[in-house]
């Protein structure tokens, strides 16, 4: 469970994020939408303790995240290429990450087998380094690594952009399955309103750092979102 209280981030006098209170329940799929600069990535970085909050706090399972390290075992995340170690081969990277979470080679292979479909045989056994892959394939590697440690909480920043259409569909199917079978809490930001409504049961709209809408997904949600963002 993630609890956010009075969270603020201020850069040079400009408030880029201000969330008085927000709670994300265990097993919830939480979608975050908003235009560029709305504060989505800032919010995720605050949850991951990559930036320092100007005020307030993020609490995961009753423990404050800031300057703490216990949450790292529970949270899997992929925000951008900065999460990849790009001079490794994908296999080496998965092995490295797997070992950090106490996985054996067998566990890692089993995991890689389970997402073989998502990789579409473009990732493994290519002898390429991660830095030589396309943006889309790098994204797939990052998402897979985020899942490798059996996280209770998964945080993905715009996972659908740069993926090819088939991969987008596979990823959606994959995320939906994970929710059903493993009860993972998911935080996903997206610019694609279609995708996010298909994957998330709760959708929050951020605008200039403020939560302006907090919706439970229904059949009408997509229309509501489209109406909100229409210009």
């Amino acid at each position: 469970m993630i609890e956010v209280t009075n969270l603020q981030k201020i850069y040079n006098g400009v408030t880029v994020l201000n969330i008085p209170v927000l709670t994300i329940q265990e097993g919830e799929s939480f979608g975050l939408v908003g235009n560029n600069g709305a504060g989505k990535t800032t919010f995720f970085r605050l949850i991951l303790d990559l930036i320092e909050a100007s005020a307030g706090e993020v609490v995961i399972d009753d423990e404050i995240v800031a300057r703490n390290e216990d949450w790292k075992t529970k949270v899997g995340s992929f925000l951008d290429e900065g999460f990849l170690i790009d001079f490794l081969k994908p296999e080496e990277y998965f092995s490295f990450v797997g070992k950090l979470y106490g996985k054996s080679e067998g566990d890692i292979n089993q995991f890689l087998n389970s997402i073989r479909e998502f990789f579409n045989s473009e990732i493994l056994d290519t002898k390429k380094l991660i830095r030589d892959f396309s943006k889309g394939n790098q994204k797939k590697i990052g998402i897979a690594a985020a899942l490798l440690g059996d996280p209770k909480i998964l945080i993905l920043d715009e996972p659908f952009t740069a993926l090819d259409p088939s991969s987008q569909i596979r990823l959606k199917r994959f995320l939906n399955e994970m929710q059903k079978t493993k009860n993972i809490t998911m935080l996903i930001s997206s610019h694609d309103l279609n995708h996010v409504t298909e994957v998330c049961k709760r959708i929050v709209i951020l605008e200039k750092g403020n939560v302006v809408k907090d919706l439970q997904t229904t059949e009408d949600t997509l229309k509501e979102l489209e109406a909100y963002f229409a210009v």
Binding site: L48, D49, L50, I51, E52, R67, E69, K72, T73, V75, S77, L79, D80, G82, F83, L84, I85, D86, F87, L88, K89, E92, F96, V97, K99, L100, Y101, K127, L129, R131, G149
Partner: protein
Amino acid sequence: MKGFLVRDLIRQEWLKSSRSQGFYKNLAVNILLGFFALYMAVMFLFIGFSLDNILEKLDDKLNPTQLFTGAMLYIVLLALAFRFFMQQLNTMNLPPYQVLPVKRNYLVNFLLVKPFFSLANYFHLFITVPFAVQSVSKYYDGGTAFRFVLINIFLVWFNSLMASFLKRKYGSGFSSFLFILVVIAALGALEYFKIFSLYKISLAAFGFVLFDPLGILIPLLAVAVAYALNRLFFRRNYYAERFNSKLKTDRNYNVNFSFLNRFGTIGEIMGLEIKLILRHKRTKSVLYMSAFFLLYGLIFYSNSAYDERQGFLFFVAMFITGLLMLMFGQWVISWDSSHFDGLMTKNISVSTYLKANFYLLIAFNVISFVLTTPYFFFGMKIVYMHLAAFIFNIGVNVYLLLFLSTFNTRRLDLSKTSALNYQGTTYKNFLIVLPIMFLPMIIVGVLSTYFSTAAALWTLTITGLVGTAFHKPIMTLCENQFKRRKYAMAEGFREIE
């Protein structure tokens, strides 16, 4: 039309550097580099003015100019080898221009001629001009002196063109490094055992080039040939992806450091950093350079002029026994800048991360120390100095580096080549190196003057041992510092230049 194009191309190259982020931010470093250039110029001038005197004493039969011509072939070959590894290829970002109606020929010529306008390629004039005026004109005439300077300029042009051709054609991987090292060693050995003398060939060949009025045509011809080779290469490899292909492929990715697995997460991270060193151009070229720096001691230990300058000798001892730590240590933490966010969100505690870096630095020190043990032949004083330096390095400097490196918040781009690459270097790097390198030197200098060398070395040894004894609290200190600085580092590392 063409003049206008050249102006534009030059302007855009200038904009590329001046508009890159951090150009002004990094002014302090640029000024320091300016001072460095000035220092080099003065040193070169000094060498230029004293070369005549030095060479005069070296041989009775031959005059300084003849001796110079004898060394010429060696100078050209060594400079070529040096350039082959260190010179950055002048790449222009061709693709954006390729789609514009600009003749390709024109771009290629621009690319090849550009280094001729680089000031660094004329630094040698600080040596050759004084020598020509002072020495060559004394033994011969003004015309010969003038030709001497010209020939040197042409040879630098030749080397610059030839190095970029060889680099494009063969790539500067480890195998070419070994090959060149072996060739140089072989030539040196053949000369030493008087089997085959490059010196005599050089004497004859460059004698002709310098003293025959028509000789100057030969280096000019060499420049033309090197130019033609480059042109041929670009004609054969029409597309950008092909003419840079050699520079990109690195095949040797199958090295595994499975023995490190035994050390758990710490071992995993150490293995990661070692791969990082072996798979990036910049770190690899620093590694090659370190091999040369190991020989640094030969210059000073064998020279009796330094016998009484204990502080300086200790500086040398510390430099070579801690070589790898000093070369790579300033990059600790910041070399993870491109994947820092990833490391900070994965299941790695700060203390594990710092421990991994700590043991890596210790390993660097042990390797350098072992590699420099042959210097023990220079006597017991060197043995003591190396031991004291080693203990001080692992007991004090390692911690200092770990602590101070947290102030480095510049993203480090390791994919760009070359030794004289100052990307990601700020005045902070210099501030970090100052206490590490010069403080011990001053301590030894002062203590050995007023007390004894033994007292100085013991002081440093004991300081080092005390540091090691307090390993745990010091590491906790470093950890807290890291946690305090984490956000500033992460933010700085995210900024791509």
